[in-house]
């Protein structure tokens, strides 16, 4: 999964206030944000942030208000000039380039979606969506066509001639998204785009964004104050506090091993079953080869493992599951041939699937086969594990995880 770095941020600082140099020295000597404010009156917006954002990923920055996340995202397209550090996109340093160059980058590579939509009230929806193209100097016929396409992507082409005030909040933000996408940027900056929407609409918009991203594959930097949103959307998540990145990692890493008490406090109420992938609670499959399948050995394997059913694989792929009583029946009736006793409509799930989504499969009462991208069986999840997980029994997860690590 080697991906190219799209945006590279190195040792980025932003200090607001007149005595910036002095504040920088205090930062270097290890003073906190509050101490610096008391001593110099300067506010530290962003404090030593370094990160590489990969092409095609959704990078979510999560932090409470005042954590510096809005300042950070505005530095990525030069709306705020950093005090020091570099921001590189395709070899160009946004932090140190001419106004003309930065406008060029904004027109060609980076666009932005705003928290309060920031649609132009005097322009129609179509004109709003075409704004970036107009600024680029694209002719009226072409920009209208491309803006229409972009509106179609968010399902609003029939509102092209309306005005923003005639649309609901959710629809307005879709226009904001269409405006951002119409210019075909490589990087999309989203500053708390769903923050001003009510929860149901927000949920829809998150799913819609993921859906769009599947086909577009843009590099997205997404700001939010809602950890749930971060976990749903983020390929990678940075937790920000006092201008610093406290932790950067995948949803699983953030929830599974919080870097400090601050992150832990956030993750406490998170529904783990929505964050942890199936493979985290999977047990070793201990599968039997289809070629050597005979009832007595299968029965003894199940007895040894203490399981009611066992998977059978061929070339590593699961082909069926053998239940204990079917194997016994096969031994008595068919003289040990249990191929016909295999249950071939077995529950199967990708290893990355959230545990939460395994629930319908668990109701079959059979262990769930967990496979990787190449359909190779890498483990099984017992239905009881899922039920325990959904009941919010944290210990089981940890236990299972521990079991898994031990088994490996």
């Amino acid at each position: 999964m080697a991906m190219a770095t799209k945006l590279s941020i190195k040792a980025l600082y932003k200090i607001f206030g007149e005595r910036g140099d002095e504040a920088m020295r205090l930062i270097e000597s290890g003073k906190t944000k509050d101490e610096i404010l008391a001593e110099t009156g300067a506010t530290v917006g962003v404090n030593d942030v370094s990160v590489d954002i990969e092409e095609g990923e959704i990078f979510v920055v999560m932090g409470l208000s005042g954590s510096g996340k809005s300042t950070l995202i505005r530095m990525l397209n030069g709306l705020i000039a950093p005090t020091s550090g570099t921001i590189t996109i395709d070899g160009d340093d946004i932090a140190h380039c001419s106004d003309e160059k930065i406008r060029e980058i904004r027109r060609q590579k980076i666009s932005m979606v705003f928290q309060h939509f920031a649609l132009f009230p005097h322009k129609t929806i179509l004109e709003n969506a075409a704004f970036g193209l107009k600024i680029k100097g694209v002719g009226v016929a072409e920009r209208n066509e491309r803006a229409r396409k972009s509106l179609a992507q968010v399902g609003l082409e029939q509102y092209a001639d309306s005005y923003p005030e005639q649309l609901s909040g959710g629809m307005q933000q879709r226009v904001g998204l269409a405006r951002g996408l119409a210019a075909e940027p490589q990087v999309l900056l989203m500053d708390e785009p769903f923050g001003a929407l009510d929860p149901l609409i927000r949920r829809d918009m998150q799913e819609e964004l993921l859906e769009l991203q599947r086909s577009l594959g843009k590099t997205i930097v997404f700001i939010t104050h809602d950890l749930n949103e971060a976990l749903i959307l983020g390929d990678k998540i940075a937790i920000m506090k006092g201008g610093r990145f406290v932790q950067v990692g995948t949803a699983e890493e953030i929830v599974g091993s919080p870097a400090d008490a601050y992150v832990e406090a956030f993750t406490k109420d998170i529904d783990r079953s929505r964050v942890f992938p199936a493979q985290r609670v999977a047990k070793p499959a201990e599968a039997l080869q289809k070629a050597d399948l005979v009832a007595p050995s299968a029965l003894s394997a199940m007895e040894r493992l203490g399981r009611d059913a066992i998977y059978v694989v061929e070339n590593g792929k699961p082909v069926g599951v053998l239940r204990y009583r079917d194997a016994q029946g096969a031994l008595q009736n068919a003289g040990g041939d249990c191929l016909s006793a295999l249950v071939t409509s077995f529950p199967k799930a990708d290893r990355k699937k959230p545990i939460f989504e395994l629930y319908p499969l668990a109701r079959k009462g059979l262990p769930i086969a967990i496979v990787d991208d190449a359909d190779q069986l890498i483990g099984v999840v017992e239905p009881e594990t899922i039920f325990a997980e959904l009941a919010g029994d944290d210990e089981t997860v940890e236990e299972e995880a521990a079991l898994k690590t031990a088994a490996e």
Binding site: R106, M112, A118, F120
Partner: protein, 311 residues
């Protein structure tokens, strides 16, 4: 009794005389001449044109404009008022006054809007401009006439120049205010898409400030109306002259007729400019410049200007 004048008498008036007559006027005469020229040109042509247009056509056009901007009632009022002015024998004077006002307002827009934009862009420029505007607005209108006569002489054109200076502040102030009041996130959005300052101005700031600028235009127009009358004191023609003559001869009737003419003209112009500034119930046309202009043109071209076809 002690009085400061016992100790020192300052010949202030003499100093000013010496400065203006001895230095300013001789040195800068070509400059002031040159400044008069565009005003003179526009004023003369407008005056000739408006006086040449037959009453019927003028009333029809102004009535139409009033109808599109301020409604049917205002259109009827406009036509009746114009008829009344003609009947009391003040048509030519009214046209002269109108051409003076239009000239003054045109120059106020040409000077005031760019100054307002500059003030909105630079706090420094605003801090220099603001006290000047404050002084301009506190000086009584009469006092304007003194330096104008000194520098430009007497007549209609100096009268118009006095009017321009007197009526300029509101449009500068409200242009500045309108642009500064445009929502910050919209400016940020425009920037985020790579707009140049010029693009931000034309695409976002001016269209959104238009209502406020139109309110400024209305104020400027009203000030111009009041000044155009006072300008008669330095030899400007039009309705102001009628009032002035009436006052001088104690001819109450003449003065009143002139006054009524001015009031009627003021009401018509005020309502029309207010109508332009107000956002109408927005249908297919926006409150942009384009919308306002096309609203005016629509009846003339029979509403043939259709936007893109609906689905």
């Amino acid at each position: 009794m002690y009085s400061p004048a016992d100790m020192l008498e300052i010949p202030f008036a003499d100093w000013v005389d010496d400065f203006v007559r001895g230095f300013l006027v001789p040195t800068f005469r070509p400059v002031f001449r040159a400044m008069q020229e565009p005003v003179d040109f526009l004023m003369q042509n407008l005056d000739a044109f408006l006086n040449a247009v037959p009453w019927l056509i003028f009333a029809a056009v102004l009535g139409l404009i009033a109808w599109r901007t301020a409604g049917r009632g205002m259109a009827i009022f406009t036509v009746l008022a114009l008829a009344f002015i003609d009947m009391i024998g003040l048509w030519s004077e009214t046209m002269t006054t109108l051409s003076m006002i239009i000239t003054a307002v045109v120059f106020c827009i040409v000077l005031g809007v760019p100054l307002g934009i500059a003030a909105a862009r630079s706090d420094k420029f605003l801090s220099i401009l603001r006290p000047i505007l404050d002084i301009m607005q506190t000086i009584p209108s009469f006092v304007y006439l003194v330096p104008i006569v000194m520098l430009f002489g007497v007549g209609t054109v100096p009268g118009v120049i006095a009017t321009i200076i007197f009526a300029l502040p509101p449009i500068i102030r409200l242009t500045n205010l309108g642009i500064r009041n445009v929502r910050g996130d919209l400016i940020e959005a425009a920037k985020a898409f790579g707009s140049t300052p010029r693009q931000i101005l034309w695409e976002v700031q001016l269209p959104l400030a238009l209502r406020t600028i139109m309110a400024g235009l209305n104020q400027t127009l009203m000030l111009a109306l009041s000044m155009v009358v006072i300008a008669a004191l330095i030899g400007a023609g039009g309705l102001g002259l009628t009032v002035n003559t009436g006052l001088g001869r104690l001819a109450v009737g003449t003065a009143t007729a002139g006054g009524v003419g001015i009031v009627l003209l003021a009401i018509i112009l005020d309502r029309i400019t207010q109508g332009l500034g107000e956002a109408k119930k927005r249908t297919d046309e926006s409150k942009s410049v384009k919308g306002t202009v096309s609203r005016l043109l629509k009846p003339i071209f029979g509403g043939s200007r259709s936007t893109e076809p609906a689905e």
